[in-house]
C-alpha cells in the first residue's frame, strides 16, 4: 500500500502546476479568487489558452486532440485545474456532447462539431430538464415530429446553464409518444440556438446571478441530420453519459484551494474552538474523500473497468464539502462588513446550494447507489 503518487506522477503534477501558474492570466485569477462574475469572453479566453497548449480535451482520442494521458494523469490534470483557481471548463461541449459524438455520432457529425468544440468556436448547452421533468427525466415532453428532412421541435427546457452564451444545445426530445416504455420514445438531437422559434428567458437565482435559463421551442425546424444515434434511442445515449468519466465529481483540487482560502479568512475565528473543530472535521472529510477518490481511481486502473455506480458517493460528499466550506467562509468574514469581497463570499454561500441539486440531485445519487451497488 502506498498512498503517494509515483515520482513520474509527481513530476507530471509539477509540470501541470507550473504551467498553469505561468499561463493563467492575472485578471482571470483575480476574478476567480474574489468570486467575481466570469463573462463568456473570460471562459473562452481560458479555453483557448488550454486549446493552444493541447490540453483542452485530454480524454478525447488522440486523433481528435486528446493527450493520450492515462486515467491517473487525467485526474491529476483536472484536480490541478481546480487547485490553480482557473475559470471552470464548461463541460457541455467538451465532456458531454463530444463523448456522445465520439461514441454514437456519424463521421460527418464528428468532423463538423468536434474541432469547433475543441477550439472554442461553438459554445454548447444542455437541454435535459423540463418544468415537469427534473429527477424524473424520462417523463420529458418536448416533442420532435419528423417532417421530411426535418424535425419540428416544440416544448420547453429549464435550468439550462449558460443557454444565453450558447451557439448549440443538445436536447433530449420525445419522438414517439406511443412507445410502450417512456424511455423508448426519446431521441438525442443537436439544435442550433440561432434557429427561428427559440426563445431564451433568464432565470435569476437567489444570489442574483444569471446562469440558468428557460428555453422555449416553438415549431423549431431541425435538420434530420442533427439526430445522434437512432431515433428513439436517446435514452441509451443519455445513460452512456452518466457512466462516463465521473472521476472528478468530488472536485478535490478546487475544495483544497477553498480550504486554504478559508484558513486565511478565518484567522480571527480560529480562536473560537467551536469554529475550529468544525473546520477540522471538514478538513478530515475532505482528506478522506481525496483518498476514497484515489482508491476508486486505483481500482479503475487495476481492473480496466469503467467506474461503478458507487462513484456517486464522490458527488454526494464532494458537494457537501463544497457547501460546508462556503458556509464556514461566510461565518469567517466580519458579519458587519459590507465590502464587495465580503458580499461576494455571502453570495457564494447562496450560490453553492445548487451543487447538491444539479447534475443528478444527491437524493438521485443515493437512489443510484441503492439500486445499482446495493441491489435494493
Amino acid at each position: 500500500m502506498d498512498l503517494n503518487y509515483s515520482p513520474e506522477e509527481l513530476a507530471f503534477r509539477d509540470e501541470v502546476r507550473t504551467w498553469l501558474q505561468a499561463n493563467l492570466p492575472a485578471t482571470l485569477r483575480d476574478k476567480v479568487a474574489n468570486y467575481g462574475h466570469l463573462s463568456k469572453e473570460d471562459l473562452l479566453d481560458w479555453h483557448k489558452i488550454l486549446a493552444k497548449k493541447g490540453w483542452i480535451a485530454p480524454a478525447w482520442p488522440k486523433e481528435w486532440g486528446g493527450t493520450g494521458w492515462n486515467v491517473i494523469q487525467r485526474y491529476i490534470f483536472e484536480e490541478e485545474l481546480g487547485y490553480s483557481g482557473s475559470p471552470p471548463l464548461i463541460p457541455f461541449g467538451l465532456s458531454m456532447c463530444a463523448p456522445v459524438l465520439l461514441r454514437f455520432g456519424t463521421e460527418e457529425q464528428k468532423k463538423r462539431f468536434l474541432p469547433r468544440i475543441y477550439n472554442g468556436e461553438d459554445f454548447w448547452c444542455q437541454g435535459y430538464s423540463e418544468p415537469g421533468s427534473g429527477s424524473d427525466l424520462a417523463s420529458l415532453k418536448t416533442k420532435a415530429l419528423r417532417d421530411g428532412e426535418f424535425y419540428k421541435v416544440t416544448g420547453q427546457k429549464i435550468w439550462t446553464t449558460l443557454a444565453h452564451y450558447a451557439d448549440w444545445i443538445f436536447c433530449l426530445v420525445r419522438t414517439d409518444s406511443q412507445a410502450g416504455k417512456r424511455q423508448e420514445g426519446i431521441s438525442f438531437l443537436l439544435i442550433d440556438m440561432k434557429t427561428p422559434g427559440i426563445t431564451i428567458r433568464p432565470l435569476i437565482l437567489m444570489d442574483g446571478a444569471h446562469e440558468v435559463n428557460e428555453v422555449f421551442f416553438d415549431d423549431v425546424r431541425v435538420p434530420a441530420g442533427n439526430l445522434v444515434f437512432e431515433e428513439n434511442k436517446g435514452w441509451t445515449v443519455a445513460k452512456y453519459l452518466l457512466g462516463y468519466e465521473r472521476m472528478n465529481t468530488g472536485r478535490i483540487g478546487e475544495s483544497k484551494r477553498q480550504l486554504g482560502r478559508l484558513k486565511e479568512l478565518a484567522v480571527e475565528k480560529m480562536g473560537d474552538q467551536r469554529f475550529r473543530d468544525r473546520l477540522s472535521r471538514l478538513e478530515v472529510e475532505l482528506t478522506a474523500l481525496e483518498i476514497t477518490n484515489l482508491r476508486f481511481l486505483d481500482r479503475m486502473r487495476r481492473t480496466g473497468q469503467p467506474p461503478g455506480a458507487d462513484v456517486s458517493m464522490l458527488k454526494i460528499k464532494g458537494t457537501e464539502i463544497q457547501q460546508g466550506l462556503t458556509e464556514l467562509m461566510m461565518e469567517s468574514v466580519d458579519p458587519t462588513a459590507s465590502d464587495p469581497f465580503s458580499v461576494s463570499v455571502r453570495k457564494k454561500y447562496l450560490s453553492m446550494r445548487k451543487t447538491t441539486i444539479y447534475a443528478g440531485s444527491n437524493e438521485i445519487q443515493r437512489n443510484i447507489i441503492s439500486k445499482m451497488t446495493l441491489g435494493l
Binding site: 500500500m1 498512498l3 491517473i72 474552538q273 475550529r276 477540522s280 472529510e285 482528506t287 483518498i291 435494493l376
Partner: protein
C-alpha cells in the same frame, strides 16, 4: 500510488478471515465470552498463523511487520469481534522489542510469538481522559506505587509494561502481574484496574515519546479494526433490509431506509480511506508530528463514522437490533468502545488544534 495489499498481506488477511469464518462463529465467540472470556485454542491458532509475531523483529521470532501488514488482520478481527487480547499483547511486546535489553527481549518476545506469553500495556489512569502525559504512578528505585485503570488484557497477561513517573520524567517498566479483580468491558474484553503496591519493575528504555509512538501505532490498528466492524454492520444491515418484510414487502424497498443505508456505506468507505492513511503514516511518516496529525485526523473520522454506522445499524434492525441474540448489537458495543479507544473525536480534534 497503490491501495492494494501486497501478495503476502492479502494471503494473510484471507487466511485469517477464512479461519475466523470457520472457527470463530458468533456462537463460538459467545461460548468463549461466557466461559473463560477467551479461547486458548484460538490463541494457539493465532500463533501458528504467525499473527503474534507479526510486528516483532525477525531475530526474536517475529516478521518485522508494520501497521499496513497488520491492517487486513485487524479488519478481519473487527468483523469477527475477536475478544482475545491481541492488540494489548502486541503493543506491549513492541515496546519491549524497542526498549528492552537483549536479555529481556530473549525472555519475552519468542514466547509472545509462540503464544506462550501474553502482555498488556498498563498506562491509563483515572482522570487521564486520553492524555498520554497524565501519569501519577510513581517509581522509586524500581518499585512502583499507584493505580492503573481499565488495563485491557491485564487479566490474561503474564507480564505488564507499566508507565510511571520518575525523577527523570515518564519511564517504562516491565513487571510481574499483581493481584486485582478482572472485569469485562462494554465490548466483552477482559480488563482490570491494576493496583501497584510496591511491585518491582525492570526498567525499559523509552519514555513518553515511545508511549506516544506505541499509542499512535495502536490507534491506527484500532482504526482498521473499526473499519472491519463497520463492514459487518453494513453487510448485515443490508441483508436485513432485503429479507425483513413489513407491509407485504422487504423494508429495503422504502426510500427512507435506502438512503440511510447508502449513507452508512459512504461512512464505511470514508472510514476505510482514513484507516489506510493512518496505517501507512505510522509506518512511513518522517517525524512524530506528521504521524500524530494523520493518526488524529483518522481517529476523528473513525470515531464519528463508527458512531454513525453503529447507531444506524441498530435503528434499521428495529427491535432486533437491540437484542443480545444478534451479532449486530455486539458490533454496536465494539464500535462504541473503538470510537473512544486511545481518544474520542473531541480528544483528537484537540490534538489537531494544538498541532
Amino acid at each position: 500510488m497503490n491501495f492494494d495489499y501486497n501478495e503476502e498481506q492479502q494471503l494473510l488477511a484471507d487466511s485469517v478471515r477464512r479461519f475466523l469464518e470457520k472457527e470463530y462463529t458468533f456462537e463460538a465467540r459467545k461460548q468463549a465470552v461466557a466461559g473463560e472470556g477467551w479461547s486458548p485454542r484460538v490463541w494457539n491458532n493465532f500463533a501458528e498463523m504467525g499473527l503474534l509475531g507479526l510486528p516483532l523483529p525477525a531475530e526474536q521470532g517475529g516478521f518485522g511487520g508494520g501497521a499496513v501488514d497488520l491492517m487486513g488482520v485487524m479488519e478481519a478481527f473487527g468483523e469477527a469481534l475477536v475478544v482475545e487480547p491481541y492488540l494489548p499483547t502486541l503493543i506491549a511486546a513492541r515496546l519491549v522489542a524497542r526498549g528492552g535489553t537483549e536479555e529481556q527481549k530473549k525472555a519475552i518476545l519468542p514466547a509472545v510469538a509462540e503464544g506462550r506469553m501474553k502482555l498488556a500495556l498498563a498506562h491509563d489512569e483515572k482522570g487521564a481522559r486520553y492524555r498520554l502525559d497524565h501519569v501519577n504512578v510513581k517509581a522509586e528505585n524500581g518499585t512502583l506505587k499507584g493505580e492503573k485503570s481499565a488495563v485491557v488484557g491485564a487479566p490474561l497477561a503474564d507480564r505488564l509494561v507499566v508507565s510511571a513517573r520518575t525523577s527523570k520524567g515518564i519511564e517504562l517498566f516491565l513487571t510481574e502481574k499483581p493481584n486485582f479483580k478482572p472485569y469485562m468491558t462494554l465490548d466483552e474484553m477482559l480488563a482490570g484496574d491494576v493496583v501497584l503496591n510496591g511491585v518491582k519493575g525492570e526498567a525499559l528504555a523509552g519514555g513518553l515519546a515511545a508511549i506516544e509512538e506505541a499509542v499512535d501505532f495502536a490507534t491506527a490498528l484500532v482504526c482498521a479494526e473499526a473499519v472491519g466492524a463497520m463492514k459487518f454492520a453494513c453487510d448485515t444491515t443490508l441483508e436485513y433490509l432485503k429479507t425483513r418484510k413489513q407491509f407485504g414487502v422487504p423494508i429495503g424497498t422504502f426510500q427512507a431506509l435506502q438512503h440511510r443505508m447508502v449513507e452508512m456505506v459512504i461512512s464505511y468507505e470514508q472510514a476505510k480511506s482514513m484507516a489506510c492513511l493512518a496505517c501507512s503514516k505510522v509506518d512511513t511518516a518522517p517525524d512524530a508530528r506528521d504521524r500524530a496529525r494523520s493518526v488524529s485526523m483518522a481517529k476523528v473520522k473513525i470515531a464519528d463514522n463508527a458512531r454513525h454506522v453503529s447507531q444506524e445499524s441498530v435503528q434499521l434492525h428495529g427491535g432486533m437490533g437491540m437484542s443480545e441474540e444478534l451479532k449486530v448489537s455486539h458490533t454496536f458495543r465494539r464500535l462504541t468502545v473503538l470510537a473512544r479507544q486511545f481518544g474520542d473525536a473531541d480528544h483528537h480534534l484537540g490534538r489537531l488544534a494544538a498541532a
